[in-house]
Amino acid sequence: MPLFDYSLLLTGKYHDMLVAGLWLSLQLLAASLVCALPIALVVAMLRLSPLAPLRWLGFAYVESIRNIPLLAHMLFWYFGAPELLPEGVKQWLYAGHIEAYSAIVALSLYTAAFMAEDMRSGIRSIPAVQFEAGRALGFGWLATMRRVVLPQALRVTVPPLISQTLSLWKNTSIATVIGVAELMYQAGQVESATFRSFESFAFASAAYLTVSLAITALASWYHHRFPVRTL
């Protein structure tokens, strides 16, 4: 077993490649999170809507996305979906960072399905009388949700959402299959150039672990700072 070569990780072009990969992974995390949250909120509301067709729509979204592996989503949004676009849009898109865009679409839609379920649970945990009180005050369905139920429900939902963020962070690594130069991809590149597999994947593992622990710490901090209010 060759000795562990720290110099590979601390300086030089392989170090730069790994750091660039980590940075891109963090960008994927941020972009996907920003897109997933509003989608999740809309889907959660759909699933609780008083109108049956809207409920079915929400149900179909959650179940169809949740029951297909993320890998398949990635390949679909890269190799499949963009091919259906009109020629002009396609060329414009393909000239840009189509790999990263496809990954963000796949990650956002996938994560949103799980987050929607957490939000729905959060909303359902708010006693029905709160909703009824809102309606009694003359608010419509949406206004009652927005002014009375959601402010309480989202507070309950934050810890599970942070936990979904943790999954999202680890899932960014799947983007490697469609050529996105994120952390796992760069670790693989460094490995094939140098055959120092142990060092490059040790860097990647340490980076994933560090960010994951930071997200976990955030969850536990939030839990203490803003405990769930009970009636």
Partner: protein, 275 residues
């Protein structure tokens, strides 16, 4: 007491590891009666699965069989992934690696190489309507290739400003080219010509750029320090060259009547040195 047992166990395992590491691999191969060769099995015509017989055949298989015959054992082929070639060899799961392995300086620190068994240029293919006629024009453009080999570092070296995107298999990368997700696709000449041939009538829309990105010397990988095994491998290759068998094997898989369509063989099994 418990500590003593632990110490004894440690000493025993260290001793065992020591003997395994120092045993001569050639003697082991003779003892077990088989030469285990790691191949890709997806790299026509070097190693691929014959659709009729479901057996792995190809150029590198013929070479592996010649080496096994020389040692006097049977060949056992084991399919491995591109990125797993060196680890499998180092951990002793395979005796040799004949898997489109490029011999380069960086890898010499990890394993030993046989005489060069194949010399290939890496080339780029582009869509005709891109107007690209030279490799240097790929600068600033998106170029697609397979991951884990030397294609990627070579295109970066040849055209530092190219935006290189890599995939797990050459089929995926080539599909991305066909969908227009990049202007160029880079691969070993033999593999590239084969993908090109598969395009059929669509061939007219593509151009294979003449200029080589690099010259690659492929060789058989041998675990570091196994001098006995390396000597047998190299001797076999020299004998194949001398008897004219090497030329025949080349023509069989890469010659004018194959999809690769090489007119001449521009290299010989003679050296294990690279530039």
């Amino acid at each position: 007491m418990r500590l003593n047992i632990l110490a004894a166990a440690l000493a025993a395992s260290a001793l065992l590891a020591g003997t395994v590491a120092h045993a001569d691999q050639l003697a082991d191969i003779k003892k077990k009666g088989e030469l285990v060769v790691g191949v890709l099995g997806t790299d026509e015509p070097a190693t691929f699965i014959d659709p009729k017989t479901r057996q792995i055949v190809g150029y590198e298989v013929d070479l592996a069989n010649a080496i096994a015959k020389k040692i006097g054992v049977k060949t056992t082929l084991k399919q491995i992934a591109v990125a797993a070639r060196i680890p499998e060899l180092q951990q002793g799961h395979v005796d040799l690696v004949a898997a489109g392995l490029t011999h380069n300086k960086e890898r010499e620190a990890q394993i030993d190489f046989s005489l060069t068994t194949f010399v290939t240029g890496q080339k780029a293919i582009v869509k005709k309507d891109s107007g690209i006629a030279e490799v240097s024009q790929l600068g600033g453009k998106k170029v697609l290739t397979i991951r884990g080999g030397t294609q990627e570092p070579n295109i970066r070296k040849a055209v530092p400003t190219a935006d290189v995107v890599t995939f797990d298999t050459s089929q995926q990368a080539f599909q991305a080219l066909q969908q227009g997700k990049g202007v160029g696709y880079v691969d070993d000449e033999a593999a590239l010509l084969r993908s090109y041939a598969k395009l059929g009538p669509q061939k007219a829309q593509y151009v294979v750029l003449k200029q080589n990105l690099s010259t690659e010397a492929l060789a058989i990988g041998i675990k570091k320090g196994e001098t006995g095994l390396k000597a047998v491998v190299d001797d076999t290759l020299r004998e194949l060259e001398k008897s004219g068998e090497a030329e025949k094997i080349f023509v069989k898989w890469y010659g004018p009547n194959t999809a690769s369509g090489f007119q001449t063989r521009d290299f010989k099994f003679e050296s294990d040195k690279i530039d």
